[in-house]
């Protein structure tokens, strides 16, 4: 490519490059500095070195919110993957009416998080909620859900499973890529449906499961909207991001909140590295 053409190409990407520097790189550098100050958004920022990072590991609320988030992530991520994959397998066949089910299962992905939270506030209402109404029909006394600290996590897991259809598109696309002749060969060998899923579908789906696992971990650690709207008794709904937001905009501890953001970044980065390292043991590659 001639130098002139290269230069022209550079001019074309220049606005994007300026945007990247101004709105991504620069704020990131600024965030590193802010996390080492006691900045309260309005006044002057005083440099405190690693003070915020030391403080946060001594804060009871930090440990608590991290524990709430980790517990949720450990259960919700595999649960969502399993649910999503199962739904994808079920609706992958072109039977009559499957299109309707695909739309229904995918719908949660296009609904606003706030709207979902408000709907679930009613569904999980202890006295007049849909869920306890159904349980009452079977003469089961439903729990207080979000009002009982012991039931806050299960409440959020129910919401997570409800929204599991969000990963449907990627799973369906991956399912379509599995060569039909593999199933044909398995059928000749006498494999039943479960064996076909176990030995063909799941192994060939592992690249997309890996992709969804990484995104799932990131999503679980960044859980915010419904937790911010719904909360939960005994601060069991105080997820890491909610804690971070409250520190920044409720208590105006911008320096401390920025340190929290960097710690979250490091946690997610480490987990991604770990998952990536395990890739060679379970992800299929040609």
């Amino acid at each position: 490519m001639s130098q002139k053409r290269q230069r022209a190409g550079f001019y074309f990407i220049l606005p994007w490059l300026i945007g990247l520097c101004l709105f991504t790189a620069l704020p990131m550098v600024a965030a590193v500095y802010i996390s080492m100050t006691d900045w309260d958004i309005v006044g002057n920022a005083e440099f405190v070195g690693l003070g915020n990072y030391i403080t946060l590991f001594q804060e009871e609320e930090f440990i608590r919110s991290l524990w709430v988030t980790v517990r949720y992530a450990v259960i919700a991520v595999p649960l969502i993957i399993a649910t999503s994959l199962t739904i994808a397998v079920l609706v992958s066949k072109n039977h009559k009416g499957t299109g309707v089910f695909r739309v229904i299962y995918y719908m949660p992905a296009i609904v606003s998080g706030v709207a979902v939270a408000i709907v679930f506030k009613w569904i999980l209402d202890p006295s007049y909620g849909l869920l306890n109404g159904i349980l009452a029909f079977f003469r089961i006394q439903g729990p207080d859900w979000l009002y009982d600290p012991d039931w806050v996590l299960p409440s959020y897991l129910i919401m997570a499973v409800w929204g599991a259809g969000g990963g449907l598109l990627t799973y369906l696309a991956a399912l379509k890529d599995i060569p039909e002749d593999l199933y044909g060969a398995a059928m000749i060998d006498g494999a039943n449906t479960l064996q076909k899923v176990r030995y063909i579908t799941v192994p060939l789906m592992t690249p997309i499961i890996f992709y969804n696992l990484v995104l799932g971990i990131i999503g679980a650690f960044r859980k915010f909207t419904d937790a911010y709207v719904l909360g939960g008794a005994g601060k069991e709904g105080n997820f890491y991001m909610v804690y971070l937001y409250e520190e920044a905009f409720g208590h105006y501890r911008m320096g401390y909140a920025t340190a929290l953001a960097w710690v979250l970044f490091v946690i997610i980065l480490l987990l991604t590295f770990v998952v990536n390292w395990t890739k060679k043991y379970w992800v299929y590659s040609e």
């Binding site: 002139k4 022209a8 001019y11 220049l14 606005p15 300026i18 945007g19 101004l22 309260d40 958004i41 309005v42 006044g43 506030k121 209402d125 202890p126 006295s127 007049y128 909620g129 207080d144 009002y147 009982d148 600290p149 008794a233 005994g234 601060k235 409250e246 905009f249 409720g250 208590h251 105006y252």
Partner: protein, 430 residues
């Protein structure tokens, strides 16, 4: 060909520069006249229309001396205000709830208006109710002009009292908290209109200040330093809340949300009494109901606290001025004019001698006027300090909600714990 390339180059570079300038033009403060002031409000919809009409009137009366422009921030108000301050693009005037004034004053975001306020010929501190103006004070200075007061009174269902044979409180009753609990006991568990009813509804509202004051105590002393949660009086006050929970004088915490907001329990005649702000418009709501659902509303002041005052928590908002305008006489005149105009807008005006405005604003409030007049003398806010948001977090999650969820919760132990935590916070204040 060479010329063509140069033209293209120049054109390309100009385009890039134009886009870059366009990006940056959105940042920073836009130039405006020195006599034009921006007023940020959380008002939206009809309230914003009313607000705009008031501003238009004030602008017209100013005869060009100054001009106020409205900036509506209907959602995430304080997030946007703080971000604007950080971006050095602070609105000139903005509304601020009483809990945040000390924090923003400490952060250096607000103008100290003490001198202008005290020397004013129009609006002086002594014109305000004492408890109301205290909400705009921190560290001995005034940081805003309160424009609305909304102290609590007790709304009650006269029909329910009559039918269940319970003696009604008087509009200026000096009933005590013990007597209030006795009235609650007379209702709780009884049937009315086919429903089990309760004396009152408590689900985090009324706020914790109300209960702590009930025992004659307080959270933070007037010096803004001393924490009083460990005092016997403060703990006795929380004891009243403990009794309400333990004796089921209110629906269970988990049950309250089932009807929507807690006030719905009063509107649907499921509780006999409700702690509501003067501004709560139950009268209009009841008037709009079907004839068989309507009921007569009675009014009583807050029960007398153990120190002899019928203290009523007053939610007050002030209009504050940006730090950059400190000492600016023209800006202060505009602030004063607009604050005075607000006194004819909302219930209740925070200044003495303006109670007649209430009936003009809402004629249906006429029946409440004796109680309102009595209550205004006891309207007050807590001594909010910059550390309040942290202390309040602990009071809410670790104390109030815990007690609502578990009647056997050791609230006294928790109050002592929060006392220590709060003292540590205050000791670190810069």
């Amino acid at each position: 060909m060479k010329n063509m390339l140069s033209v293209r180059k120049i054109l390309g570079l100009t385009l890039v520069l134009a886009m870059f300038t366009g990006l940056l033009s959105g940042c920073g403060e836009t130039g405006k006249d020195k006599n034009t002031f921006t007023f940020a409000t959380w008002a939206a919809g009809t309230e914003l229309e009313e607000f705009q009409a008031i501003i238009d009137k004030v602008n017209a009366e100013a005869n060009g001396e100054y001009k106020i422009e409205v900036l509506s921030i209907p959602s995430d108000y304080y997030v946007k205000i703080s971000t604007k301050i950080a971006a050095k693009n602070c609105p000139d005037f903005f509304w601020m709830t009483q809990e945040l004034i000390s924090k923003y004053a400490q952060m250096g975001a607000l103008a100290d208006i003490s001198q202008q306020f005290q020397n004013s010929q129009v609006l002086t501190p002594d014109l305000y109710y004492e408890g109301v103006i205290a909400s705009a004070m921190y560290n001995g200075s005034y940081w805003g002009l309160p424009w609305i007061a909304n102290p609590l009174i007790v709304y009650y269902n006269k029909d329910m009292f009559e039918e269940l044979g319970v003696a009604m409180p008087e509009p200026e009753d000096d009933w005590t908290w013990e007597e209030f609990l006795d009235v609650c006991r007379a209702f709780s568990g009884k049937q009315y209109n086919g429903n089990t009813v309760y004396g009152t509804v408590v689900d985090g509202w009324p706020n914790i200040e109300t209960f702590i004051w009930a025992g004659g105590g307080d959270i933070i002393a007037a010096d803004g330093q001393t924490i009083l949660l460990g005092d016997e009086a403060a703990q006795k006050g929380m004891g009243y809340l403990h009794t309400i929970v333990k004796e089921n004088l209110s629906p269970r915490y988990a049950e309250v949300a089932s009807l929507g907001d807690n006030n719905v329990w009063f509107e649907k005649q499921r509780v006999a009494m409700y702690f509501g702000g003067m501004q709560d418009n139950f009268e209009t709501k009841v008037a709009a109901m079907n004839a068989e659902e309507q009921f007569e509303i009675g009014y009583a002041p807050m029960p007398m606290c153990d120190d002899g005052g019928a203290w009523s928590f007053d939610w007050t908002a002030s209009t504050v001025m940006a730090k950059s305008l400190e000492g600016n006489e023209l800006a202060y005149r505009a602030l004063e004019a607009v604050t005075q105009a607000f006194f004819e807008w909302k219930i209740a005006p925070p200044v003495k001698g303006s109670l007649d405005n209430i009936v003009e604003i809402n004629p249906r409030k006429e029946g409440a006027m004796d109680t309102i007049a009595y209550t205004m003398e006891y309207a007050r806010s807590a001594n909010y300090i910059p550390e309040w948001s942290d202390i309040n977090d602990k009071l809410w999650y670790n104390l109030y909600v815990s007690l609502l969820n578990d009647a056997d919760f050791d609230y006294k132990g928790k109050m002592n714990e929060i006392q220590q935590y709060s003292e540590e916070l205050v000791s670190k204040r810069k």
